[in-house]
Symmetry: C2
DNA sequence: ACAAGTACTTACCCTAAAGTATGTATTATG
DNA sequence: CATAATACATACTTTAGGGTAAGTACTTGT
């Protein structure tokens, strides 16, 4: 284990937070604006790179691929590339990623209810 | 369907995304690293400002209060201040905030399972 | 008189994330 | 020979969020 630098108080505290609060762990994995949105689109069906792009017009290609790589690294999604030209790459949820179904579902339900004004 | 303008900006595209993807709506409300963590701590019990602070040592006061204000503005939490000295301020989930229980719960469950290595 | 306690506020700085724009590989097709 | 199609890569700039540190208000306790 690498020694923690004196100056990294916040990192130390984050470690403590991780042990104390499960949600912190989730945030380390999908705690960004785009990741849950990407996961949502993959939760409805496996998709090619270009399909995700079309599904989320507001995201730039740089950011999209960046997040896809991170999600893959974190074991939440699986990338499958067919060695053809033009390239054919499909992304899908891994077992772990599928474990997030309840989270995504709950989000979607809340959003629909909130937009209907149910909580007013 | 509205035609997409060539010049369409990211804000416009975000608007479209909002209509197409419920999760986008959720992200507009709680799409940051800290907000779900704050909501988690409020979901276990109403808390004073200082209690939240202690529960999340990694967050700075500036950022904490910033997010609390935003969450209040967005109608997810309720701030109640007793006019005493020293101040006594309590934060709690609103009806809308409580509607996020399933999301928070699902996150916590996933985190626990993921940390146990269930998804490997 | 001074510190302690609570819940902030404010000014300044810094970095990580995001945006812009352009380039790359490969091959079938006109 | 040029173009189209797909899935990226990369260099550069900008911005928003977050971090640091210090200050404020008001009263009780020593």
């Amino acid at each position: 284990m690498t020694a923690v630098k004196k100056t990294s108080t916040i990192q130390e505290n984050k470690q403590i937070a991780l042990e104390m609060c499960p949600v912190t762990y989730v945030m380390e994995k999908i705690g960004s604006y785009w990741k849950p949105i990407i996961l949502y689109h993959l939760s409805t069906s496996d998709k090619r790179y270009s399909e995700i792009k079309r599904a989320i017009p507001a995201i730039t290609e740089k950011v999209l691929i960046q997040h896809l790589k991170q999600l893959e690294t974190d074991g939440l999604i699986i990338r499958e590339a067919k060695p053809v030209v033009p390239p054919h790459v499909t992304y899908s949820l891994s077992t772990s990623g599928k474990g997030l179904f309840p989270v995504i579902d709950a989000m979607a339900k809340w959003a629909i209810e909130a937009q209907k004004g149910i909580f007013v």
